[in-house]
């Protein structure tokens, strides 16, 4: 059995096992067991991958497996991973694991909740292992649809509205994406041979530039909507605010990464010429995202809204880096996806834990949390410091790689945007410290808070897992960065073969 298929099989089996559980305690135990296996598998995969590479295997994708499942359209279940997808799988493993423990006391329809959650995870894992565009798209949809149920049923606030909005906007993105992918499929064989959905095979040929010009915006925007591309990001604040804790964690932590990953793996990789021509438009949009999201976050009062806008800013940086189209910037984009995935999951976990105790998410109604809940307070500060890019935590590594990559462009346009993006590190510091100051520090405003309990064991487990991952990347980033770098080479080669002439507005 291919190890990669286990990543789909284990969640499916876990879901199936959950059906037979009798109460919440059994359900969560099964879910936790399944996702622990998944986390261990992710770790094993990382080691196996590194071992293969050290043994001198230079294939573009490792652990590949291919099975035809829909002959008339030549759709394959083709899987394989490189350093980038291994990193994303590890991220997903960690976030899902933490998510299960963060929703340990989900009493309402717990079986259905955990099944939906794990189904979502299945989609994400499947997406990252797929090499066949159609299968990839299928997993993408599998990941997006449970979201509607998860928010609509277990959410809070205007949950039906948010769930509908999120689903419709993401489905809109899927529609655009479908056009893009179909277009790629129909141009996948210029010499009249059989058409293919296989990513690697398509990357070997050149899609005609005229078609690229047409298909690139569809594909890029289609993925970009999930990656919170301005101005299509507005599902994110409402969606996150209404979603239950674990769903916010998974959604911001890994689902949004599908957007960045897809934009990079499909849109940029397969259509580099069009990407270079049109990059300037999207660079402006993502440049706006970065600064705009940060400024938007300053004014928010709801913790989840703050974090949602912060995600707009940070995910904007991912797409921004992807569009800079050089190796360093790509590396930064992947690192930023992982880093943001970890820290935003941590934020949402903490927000959920604090909300579960105080029953409010409005920062001006709280204060002095640090005194009553020192553990949660300290972890919140760590998450905040990671978010504002403190060295020693993951955010710094990612942001610096992006800035140095982007700065390799010497023209005024790129330089200007890069400098503009760097200003976000100051604005981020403002909104993070504002929250830390109001929420955690200062005197306790509400005396009901005096008797609140600090984190329980499962909450500690959930947050410590994430903190450890954030610190590990922040302290020793070299192995991860190198693992990604090696896999970037074929991609960068293809792009540089397309010629690196920057055309456009400037």
């Amino acid at each position: 059995m291919n190890i990669l298929s286990l990543f789909v099989l284990v969640p499916v089996l876990t879901s199936a096992a959950i059906v037979f559980t009798k109460n919440m305690k059994q359900t969560r135990l099964v879910a936790a067991a399944g996702m622990s296996v998944q986390l261990i598998l992710s770790a094993i995969l990382v080691f196996m991958y590194l071992a293969e590479r050290n043994a001198g295997n230079t294939a573009e994708m490792l652990f590949t497996y291919d099975a035809l499942w829909f002959p008339s359209l030549n759709i394959h279940y083709a899987i394989g991973v490189d350093g980038i997808s291994v990193a994303m799988i590890a991220l997903t493993g960690i976030v899902v694991f933490a998510g299960i423990f963060a929703s340990w006391n989900m009493e309402f329809l717990s079986r259905e909740f955990f099944i939906s959650l794990i189904l979502l995870a299945t989609g994400v894992f499947g997406f990252f292992i797929s090499l066949d565009l159609f299968t990839m798209f299928l997993f993408y949809e599998i990941a997006v649809i449970p979201m509607y149920l998860l928010i609509g049923i277990w959410g809070s606030g205007p949950k039906e509205y948010s769930a509908m909005k999120l689903t419709l906007m993401l489905m809109g993105g899927s529609a655009l994406l479908m056009v893009g992918l179909l277009g790629i499929y129909f141009y996948s064989s210029p010499d009249g041979g059989p058409l293919t959905w296989n990513l690697l095979e398509i990357s070997k040929i050149d899609i005609p530039v005229e078609m690229q010009r047409f298909l690139f915006p569809f594909t890029f925007i289609g993925f970009g909507i999930l990656g919170a591309l301005f101005p299509f990001h507005t599902w994110s604040p409402d969606g996150h605010a209404s979603a239950p804790t674990a769903v916010s964690m998974l959604h911001a932590g890994v689902l949004m990464k599908l957007g960045g990953y897809g934009a990079f793996r499909v849109a940029i990789f397969l259509m580099p010429e069009a990407a270079q021509e049109q990059a300037w438009i999207f660079l402006i949009l993502t440049g706006i995202s970065v600064v705009y999201g940060a400024f938007g976050a300053i004014w928010q009062k709801d913790l989840k809204y703050i974090n949602a806008y912060s995600s707009v800013s940070h995910c904007g940086l991912v797409l921004f880096a992807v569009l800079m189209m050089n190796q360093t910037a790509f590396n930064g984009a992947i690192l930023q996806m992982i880093s943001h995935g970890l820290m935003t999951a941590l934020f949402f976990a903490l927000i959920g834990m604090i909300y579960g105790r105080t029953h409010t998410r409005m920062i001006n109604e709280m204060g002095g949390i640090m005194k009553v809940m020192p553990f949660l307070g300290v972890v919140y500060v760590i998450a905040g410091l990671a978010s504002l890019g403190l060295p020693g935590l993951s955010g710094f590594v990612a942001e610096m790689t992006i800035f140095f990559g982007a700065f390799q462009h010497t023209d005024f346009f790129h330089r200007f945007l890069t400098i503009m993006a760097t200003t976000s590190i100051v604005v981020t510091a403002v909104y993070i410290l504002r929250v830390v100051g109001i929420l955690l520090l200062g005197p306790i405003k509400d005396e009901h808070f005096l008797h609140l309990e600090d984190a329980k064991w499962h909450e500690r487990l959930s947050t410590i897992t994430l903190v450890l991952a954030i610190a590990a990347i922040g302290i020793a980033p070299l192995w991860l960065s190198d693992m990604i770098n090696v896999s970037l080479e074929p991609i960068v080669n293809k792009i540089s073969m397309a010629g690196f002439e920057f055309t456009g507005l400037f």
């Binding site: 300053i298 004014w299 928010q300 360093t328 403190l390 790689t401 390799q408 590190i425 510091a429 005197p443």
Partner: protein
């Protein structure tokens, strides 16, 4: 080559202490945390002194000058093909000198804090943060490359944030810590942009390569120009912006007075002796580049330093919070150091300013830490920061009084105390370079003596205040560091800096220039005399003087309204004119547009849903009407 690999332990010991007390501190007796921290710093101090003795004296081969050497280095991250971030330990005269400064002051502060913080709720946390700070500061000092310096630069920033906000239940402390972090962060943005530019031009982060006279940086003098300055000049000005933020230079100084909300030992360590001089250290690190390829950037350094020192000295004359007086004094003295670097040339006697700036950094660390720790002992005794609540304390606090007096005389530049020597060298360097700057600094020397003795007399002489509890001298844990630092303040002036810390590593001859030394001592004495007349006994003179200066006094008292300007920019402009409209725009325009699409679809579906009513009669009517219309069209129109 002599093996210095053990110097790696110097930053790693505080890191280990930080991790240990941070993770296990709440399970131990707080005192144990304090003792572990202090012991760790003691080990660091021993290693630092050992390194200094070996580097400067025992292992030094005469004649070849002091070379920079890498004791240790590892790769941390690859950025591009050419740029790699390393972490390591660099030993050269200024880093070894800084090791002495940081370890001495930090060790003294640790001992002092054992007494000062006794019984505080966050005792263990305090020592944990102190270890974090010591680690970061030592990492910064020992950085082999500019990016490592940036990494630790941020880490000292966050340690400073944590320590200023130590009393986190106090809103003013929280606000001050936030302000310090954000203002310096803004300055660090400049630093980052500077690094981006510099590394792009030179393809290296490494200090030794950057400052090498044959290195890539030196070829950049004629690089592309922007607004009349070469690209490397801009890069260095941006880097200096980072230094100006950390070192509280005008106009990025506003966080420093507020940072006095932190516990007093923290002010002594971070906001007087070590972190705030990081900017000076940064410029000194890159000094050959500044000096050889970007003299314009060096002029900026000189003038920012000179004006900051004057600006701060004027404000210091009007403040009544003793820690704030010292904070402005720190800003003023750092201005001196910046100015010294700014007026310096490279090599030989031309490098007098470089030597003087570092010399002053060293002596200042001793006497300013002493002043702050003395202020801590005073605050400990009278439970107030305001000099108006004090007076006549010399009887109650004899040790504090004597050591404080020594520090005041030192900062006033009275020979043969250390401040005299270092300040004199700075004035000489300024005199040779720029007359206006010399005059400013000369005036500041007088002002410094005046405001320090205003402070001294108001605390220890002046009116006889009645205290609720009789003030008593601090415990030995606090007075012993005072005495040790007083010893340093008195005698560190005799260190042969012109042989040890020079711009090119080679010793040069330095003499006291009596033409400048005598007037500068005289103006210091004049400042003391004026302060004695005004403040030794309670008189009406100060009030009259203040009245005489009129609105100038009011402006200085309100710190020239810089805080108000900043509040206006942040609150009114950034919050209300940028952030709030952005939030509104997002909710109402961007999201509104999405909702509008949804509503249009919904409305149009209402409009057309009537067509699918399921009633046969309606379908029949539509069918018949449609047929008739079609028939009419086909028969009569077409």
């Amino acid at each position: 080559m002599i093996d210095y690999t053990y110097t790696l332990l110097i930053p790693l010991i505080p890191l280990a202490v930080f991790l240990f007390t941070g993770l296990a501190g709440h399970k131990m007796n707080p005192k144990v945390s304090g003792l572990i921290g202090t012991t760790g710093l003691f080990a660091v101090t021993i290693l630092s002194y050992l390194t200094a003795i070996r580097y400067f004296w025992t292992d030094h081969l005469h004649g070849s000058g002091y070379q920079a050497m890498k004791a240790f280095e590892i790769e941390w991250l690859h950025l591009t093909e050419k740029l790699t971030i390393n972490l390591g330990v660099l030993l050269d005269p200024i880093s070894v000198m800084m090791l002495i400064v940081v370890s001495t002051v930090s060790f003294m502060v640790h001992i002092y804090s054992l007494g000062y913080m006794k019984g505080e709720r966050g005792f263990a946390r305090f020592f944990t943060f102190l270890s974090l700070f010591s680690f970061s500061m030592l990492g910064l000092v020992l950085a082999t490359n500019i990016f490592q310096m940036y990494i630790f630069w941020e880490l000292v920033g966050v340690s400073s944030f944590l320590l200023i906000g130590f009393y986190y239940e106090k809103p003013s402390a929280v606000a001050a810590s936030k302000k310090a972090f954000i203002v310096t962060r803004f300055a660090d943005l400049g630093f980052l942009i500077g690094i981006l530019m510099l590394s792009f031009m030179t393809d290296t982060f490494d200090f030794r390569t950057l400052v090498s006279p044959t290195g890539p940086a030196m070829l950049q003098a004629g690089s592309a120009t922007f607004m009349g300055l070469s690209a490397i000049t801009w890069a260095l000005i941006f880097i200096f912006m980072g230094g100006a933020g950390k070192s509280a230079m005008f106009p990025l100084h506003i966080w420093l007075p507020d940072a006095m909300e932190g516990p007093t030992p923290v002010s002594a360590l971070i906001h007087a002796a070590t972190m705030v001089v990081a900017g000076v250290y940064l410029v000194a690190r890159l000094f050959p580049v500044y000096s050889m390829v970007a003299p314009d950037a060096l002029h900026v350094v000189a003038w920012v330093g000179g004006l900051s020192s004057l600006f701060a000295a004027i404000i210091a004359c009007t403040q009544t919070d003793i820690k704030r007086v010292l904070a402005y004094s720190t800003m003023s003295q750092i201005g001196y150091m910046m100015l010294a670097l700014g007026v310096s040339g490279y090599g030989g006697h031309d490098g007098l300013g470089f030597m003087a700036g570092n010399f002053h950094l060293f002596t200042h660390a001793m006497f300013k830490a002493l002043l702050f720790l003395g202020a801590g002992a005073i605050i400990h005794a009278v439970h107030s920061n305001d000099m108006r609540d004090m007076g006549g304390l010399r009887k109650y606090l004899p040790i504090t009084h004597i050591t404080f007096l020594i520090a005041c005389l030192t900062i006033a530049g009275i020979p043969p105390l250390s401040g005299f020597f270092s300040k004199d060298e700075i004035l000489v360097a300024a005199y040779h370079h720029s007359m206006p700057l010399f005059i400013i600094e000369f005036a500041v020397a007088g002002l410094t003596a005046f405001y320090m003795f205003r402070l001294y007399y108001s605390i220890f002489w002046g009116k006889h205040t009645h205290y609720h509890h009789t003030p008593h001298e601090a415990p030995a844990t606090m007075t012993i560091p005072l005495m040790i630092l007083a010893f340093g303040a008195v005698f560190s002036g005799f260190l042969p800096f012109h042989e040890l810390v020079t711009s090119d590593g080679l010793p040069f001859e330095a003499h006291i220039n009596y033409g400048i030394a005598i007037p500068s001592v005289l103006i210091g004495v004049l400042g003391i005399v004026v302060a004695t007349l005004m403040y030794r006994k309670e008189t009406a003179v100060p009030a009259k003087m203040a009245g005489g200066f009129g609105s100038f006094y009011t402006w200085a008292y309100h710190k020239f309204y810089m805080d108000e300007v900043y509040l206006f920019v942040t609150k009114k402009i950034l919050f209300n004119l940028v952030s709030r409209p952005v939030a509104w725009f997002d909710r109402h325009i961007v999201d509104g547009f999405m909702n509008l699409i949804a509503r249009v679809i919904e409305k149009s579906s209402y409009l057309i849903k009537g067509l699918q009513s399921g009633r046969i009669q309606q379908y029949g009517y539509v069918f018949v009407t449609g047929t008739i219309v079609l028939v009419i069209i086909f028969v009569f129109i077409l």
